[in-house]
Amino acid sequence: MPTPSNPLEDLAQREYRWGFVTDIESDVAPRGLSEDIVRLISTKKNEPEFMLEWRLKALRHWQKLAKREGEPKWANVHHPPIDYQDIIYYSAPKPKKKLESLDEVDPELRATFEKLGIPLDEQKLLSGVAVDAVFDSVSVATTFKEKLAELGIIFCSFSEAVQSHPQLVRKYLGSVVPYSDNFFATLNSAVFSDGSFAYIPKGVRCPMELSTYFRINAKDTGQFERTLIVAEEGAYVSYLEGCTAPMRDENQLHAAVVELIALDNATVKYSTVQNWYPGDKEGKGGIYNFVTKRGKCLGVKSKITWTQVETGSAITWKYPGCILQGDNSVGEFYSVATTNNYQQADTGTKMIHLGKNTKSTIVSKGISAGHGQNTYRGLVKIAKQARGARNYSQCDSLLIGDRCGAHTFPYLEIKNTTAKVEHEASTSKIGEDQIFYCRQRGLSSEDAVNLIVSGFCREVFRQLPMEFAVEAQKLLSVTLEGSVG
């Protein structure tokens, strides 16, 4: 385990509250990416043939992409080249015997969860949260499965779903984000190790918030999560994803894929609070977060809502979108993205209107402090056949200090004349006058900034489940600590 060896690391470790490393034996694959590695992953996971084939197709496509053009270059982010052959693509805590109860979970692992504030115990039942905890790349504990099973809800790790519900996985995997979608999604398709799977049957309203905590732990292990959520006709599910990562000196690549599918009259809400290690004050270290998240409103009157609070990572590259295929379907995107010090975020959404009378709403709040660079990039596409489509976009940027930047790139592609598309954007600076006003009432500058920022983000926080909203607000204040001198 690393011992803090230089003062810089020391400092960063003190400031990043969730920076700790757990000592658990890992089962680690050799570095690099090849057909052998993909086969190894598939074998380790005891996957059926169709999975291996899918992975290999993705791998070949990725190798082509890597040779031809490499990573996408259009994003407003800058980083040194990533050596994909220097990454470990598979790492799992060594298999243990089947666990009968939580008492059998590795005490050290449980202590880690405690530090993260994720008590894997009865308290969760009281708060109504079932947790499928992903620790590194393999799910180690799943709770409340039985309760959900009574309703016919499947909530398990992705690997488990591949074993127990291969027909569902086969039907929906890649149906929203195909293996050839983009460089990082393709990489994920080839090497993804695990993730979560949820299936809500027809007419069932999931009675609790489903949640998964991701955590990057083993050194140098890129994380390639894959999540698939399917809501059948008339079903409802709200899913929470919260992340913290231990402090690292090197950059860690993270390329997840999330696919959501909503059939007729179904609703899927997906909320994220992302707080991975952002790097230190000089911009050293931190997570590279290249994520592909997309939902498909397949059925009529279906609805998908993305809510995200992005405070961490050195680089965030993320555009949770909705394909509005069913008539009268609704897509929503609510986002708060914060960059401080040398963080970079290029994030936004894609709303693809295909069905008639489809509606989308985009509310994006970008906060930049320090040398942070924050970019909103959003696509609203109204297809020819999408009569009566409507979109409302609002992109607000808040600047703290004068060395940071905010950028807005809206892309509008309208092919139907009945469409109504509105875009509003604003950029403001936290005013000296606002801060002075708060201080004159007895609040410290730090509290004043937190107050102003939370007001700025209110429309987005309102979309989060209560418990999450509180956490998100705390994260924001931690992220912006020291941004006002």
């Binding site: 005013g431 000296e432 006058d433 606002q434 002075f436 006003y437 708060c438 201080r439 004159q440 009432r441 007895g442 609040l443 410290s444 500058s445 509290d447 107050l451 102003i452 939370s454 007001g455 700025f456 983000c457 209110r458 429309e459």
Partner: protein, 257 residues
């Protein structure tokens, strides 16, 4: 309570206050009057600790302590309140939430228990009645979309909740119609106690019909050129500021009348 001695202040590259001397005791109401640009608002803002000004000379003692050495929030916590001439909007932040945070910051500093939502609301309701304020203003974002009169009323409402020892009203009358002015003035008058000092900065005598001051000071070009009782305000109303400026040019000494 407050002793200002030979206060010189610079702002925006020029000297705005050029040697202010003023003493205010608990229980007193002082009015500072003067023409536009005379430095009235600067004096109010310097006392509150606005960062845009630089004090180049002089001292300000508040209960014997060096007020100028305290940061703005410490002054507030020690009981200095300023009603802003232009109250600031804070979008998305609920007015009640803001005021509760402020009140609890003051209470915490004084070693008092923080008020919970219920206790806070009962305190707030009583104060709102006093100022004839619409209760919906509580749930709206701080000053956002408030009319000019609502903003000013909100300032005095905050003052009534925070109960300062030294209240500074910076042109609270500007932008108020006569009905609103009477309500605001009645609110301020109701807060006159033997423990509290009030400093009213105003351009017009009108406000002083309703908040009757114990002392009136006339500020011209960064100096107090005349001090007197409430009748000085009336005299000014009649003769205009030009009267004193002419006086000053003629060499009349500035000071207590």
């Amino acid at each position: 309570m407050l002793t200002i001695t030979n206060l010189h202040v610079r702002g925006g590259n020029r000297e705005i206050l050029r040697g202010i001397n003023l003493s205010i005791d608990a229980g007193e109401v002082h009015a500072i009057m003067g023409p536009n640009g005379s430095g009235k608002s600067t004096l109010a803002r310097v006392l509150a600790g606005h960062p845009e000004y630089e004090v180049t000379q002089g001292t300000v003692l508040y209960d014997g302590r060096d007020l100028l050495a305290m940061d703005p929030e410490s002054r507030a916590r020690e009981g200095v309140f300023m009603a802003f001439q232009y109250p600031v909007e804070i979008p998305g932040v609920n007015n009640a939430y803001f005021l509760k945070a402020a009140l609890n910051a003051l209470r915490k500093h004084r070693g008092l228990e923080e008020l919970d939502a219920m206790e806070f609301m009962s305190l707030v309701r009583a104060r709102m009645q006093m100022l004839d304020m619409d209760e919906t203003l509580l749930t709206r974002p701080v000053n956002e979309g408030f009319s000019g009169g609502e903003k000013k009323r909100n300032e005095i409402f905050q003052m009534a909740v925070l109960e300062p020892r030294l209240a500074i009203l910076d042109e609270t009358d500007s932008g108020l119609d006569i009905d609103a002015l009477k309500i605001v003035a009645a609110g301020v008058t109701a807060m006159r106690t033997p423990q509290r000092a009030i400093l009213v900065v105003t351009h017009y005598q009108r406000l002083l019909n309703y908040i009757v001051p114990d002392f009136v000071h006339v500020l011209t070009d960064g100096r107090i050129v005349r001090s007197g009782g409430k009748e000085l305000a009336l005299e000014l109303e009649e003769k205009g500021y030009g009267w004193l400026e002419a006086d000053q040019v003629a060499g009349a000494p500035a000071g207590k009348a």
